[in-house]
């Protein structure tokens, strides 16, 4: 039994031209939304930067859940690896932001390699439980290694040098936001290429039927492991961005809570299209921010109600609502021989 829905149509891989047009339009939309965020909420840029960092985490999770059918409740392990690596590097004198992002990506990728090696030994629920155990172990390890990570007090006291030598990561957070937005767009474009590559199609095949893929003569494990590494790199960049923009790394960045939240955001937005990951992150965090500012005492109830409502109204996630409005085409509905 697979953890992941078989029923939801993955974004259709249409004719090459339509493909480009659609992704181009999507990219323009993201940029427009990013710019709108910059102009409309100039006073909330730190929040928006945080949204971007988490969006990278959720994107990385979509690569695993949405494209490979590997469910994880431990994705924050990869995010945290990137965040701590960037923080520690910065504390030891590597302060150039681009380099820090690269360090985060490498650390995340390494963590992804380890995590994938363990998690891919199991399927379904057992896999989910492995991911939980891994993130808990990582959390403990980060807490224990307080000489390097600052433990529960957090890793603080580092400051990245200005971007390109001129733009400071300052109070208003313009640099951090634009830097993050640029990073997100670049990562998004790269991932669009990845999922459209032969490798991406192969992954989607594995998600639906690994037996079939094997009988086509392709190995499953190395392919999934490769996706774990890519996913780790993306999550690691998210973590590094968080570290650079906040200048603190806390234990929360390797927590089960963050992992669970990122999965909730992904399912909320819809799996397997990359857009869903962005939509889910923005809606969840925006909702949380607004509701908790209005009434901090009741935001949990509100968020809970939102999640229930989404399941009842839009089981495919909010991103899926759009495609549901188009003429519905029935696929194999969750059946699996």
């Amino acid at each position: 039994m697979q953890v992941i829905a078989k029923s939801r149509p993955v974004a259709s891989p249409p004719k090459a031209a339509g493909h480009l047009v659609r992704d181009g339009a999507g990219l323009v939309l993201i940029l427009a939304a990013g710019a709108a965020g910059y102009w409309l909420f100039p006073d909330n840029l730190a929040l928006l930067t945080r949204v971007i960092a988490i969006a990278l985490l959720v994107l990385s999770l979509d690569l695993l859940v949405g494209y490979c059918g590997v469910a994880s409740l431990g994705q924050a392990t990869l995010f945290g690896a990137g965040a701590y690596a960037a923080g520690m590097a910065c504390l030891r004198g590597v302060t150039e932001p681009m380099t820090l992002i690269a360090i985060g990506a490498v650390a995340g990728a390494c963590a992804g390699l380890v995590m994938g090696t363990i998690m891919l030994r199991a399927h379904g629920l057992a896999q989910l439980v492995l991911s939980i155990a891994i993130v808990q172990l990582a959390h403990e390890a980060a807490n224990k290694a307080s000489a390097y990570t600052g433990g529960s007090d957090g890793l603080a006291g580092f400051s990245p040098s200005p971007l390109f030598g001129t733009f400071e990561f300052d109070l208003w957070g313009r640099t951090a936001y634009l830097f993050g937005l640029g990073l997100l767009v670049l990562v998004f474009i790269a991932l669009k290429f990845v999922v459209a590559s032969p490798f991406g199609v192969l992954c989607r095949g594995i998600k639906e039927d690994p037996v079939r893929i094997r009988s086509m003569g392709a190995f499953v494990f190395p392919v999934l492991l490769k996706m774990f590494v890519i996913s780790g790199a993306v999550a690691g960049m998210g973590g590094a961005l968080a570290a650079i923009s906040t200048q603190v790394v806390g234990l929360d960045s390797v927590s089960f809570e963050l992992s669970a939240n990122s999965l909730v955001m992904l399912v909320l937005g819809g799996l397997g299209s990359l857009y869903g990951a962005l939509i889910g992150t923005v809606i969840f965090m925006g909702f949380e921010h607004v509701v908790s500012a209005i009434n901090p005492f009741h935001w949990m109830t509100m968020v809970g109600a939102l999640l229930i409502a989404v399941v009842l109204v839009a089981p495919g996630g909010l991103g899926g609502l759009v495609s549901r409005l188009r003429p519905r085409l029935r696929g194999r509905n969750g059946e699996q021989p």
Binding site: P198, F199, E208, R214, R332
Partner: protein
């Protein structure tokens, strides 16, 4: 030289239940062999054993003179031992063109590439197109598999298998579940399989078997009980027993 494929003493039991017993079988290039037998005779198990989805309890599988018993399913496919499935196992969100492209890319060792687009290589496209044309799938090439007719899905199964350039092809009931109006197209496709290919087909439809096969093997209760010309099958006492005995001695066989 002429022998391409052989199984020797292939046995498999689940718990105490033997589902395959000491099966010996050999095939040459260009063979057209039909494997028939009553329900539960262990035909699909046999295919699973040969292709490596199941590990045999004992026995060997030899391909092109090489013992492949120890190899996994993937390696066997790469060595030219390819199968189709009794129930279509296709990706409902991909198009036939994408299925075949993915398979061709896999064969060329390019399916795991991250750099480069899925489509775009002229040579690959040409091969895909020619395969789809051979099987009459060109007009549905860009529709999602979930939307095309079941007969077409069966043809796509064959197309995928052929895209792997197999030496030995195991067809697990290629016409199963296909409405009779669509069977001729499948028959046609089977007739046009590459002549050098060794084909083993499991099938219930005896018309199809007689038209296609030059040799028939009958499997009953995990054992080969007949091997010979299609024209001799019906007359064989053991075969009659195996098929009809089900009714005559239902209790004993069960």
């Amino acid at each position: 030289m002429s022998e391409l494929f052989r199984v020797e003493g292939l046995s498999k039991s689940f718990g105490g239940l033997a589902v395959s017993r000491e099966i010996d079988l050999a095939m040459n290039a260009g063979d057209r062999l039909a494997l028939i037998g009553p329900n539960g005779a262990g035909k699909t198990t046999f295919v699973n054993l040969v292709t490596g989805q199941l590990r045999p309890s004992s026995g060997r599988v030899v391909l092109n003179g090489e013992d492949v018993t120890g190899l996994g399913a993937v390696r066997r496919v790469r060595k030219g031992l390819v199968r189709t499935f009794q129930v279509t196992r296709l990706f409902s969100d991909l198009t036939p063109e994408e299925h075949v492209t993915l398979t061709v890319l896999q064969r060329l060792g390019r399916a795991t590439r991250i750099i480069g687009r899925f489509r775009g290589d002229a040579e690959v496209s040409a091969e895909v197109e020619s395969l789809l044309r051979t099987l009459g799938l060109l007009d549905v090439a860009r529709r999602k598999v979930g939307e095309i007719a079941y007969g077409q899905q069966r043809l796509l199964e064959i197309a995928i298998a052929l895209a792997l350039k197999p030496k030995v092809l195991l067809l697990d009931e290629p016409a199963a579940g296909v409405p009779s109006t669509e069977t001729p197209r499948i028959e046609q496709a089977l007739e046009h399989l590459p002549p050098s290919l060794a084909v083993l087909m499991i099938e219930h439809d005896m018309d199809l078997v007689f038209r296609f096969a030059r040799r028939v093997v009958v499997l009953a209760a995990g054992e080969i009980i007949f091997e010979g010309l299609p024209s001799d099958v019906a007359a064989n006492e053991k075969v009659r027993e195996a098929y009809l005995g089900n009714y005559a001695h239902a209790r004993r066989v069960a």
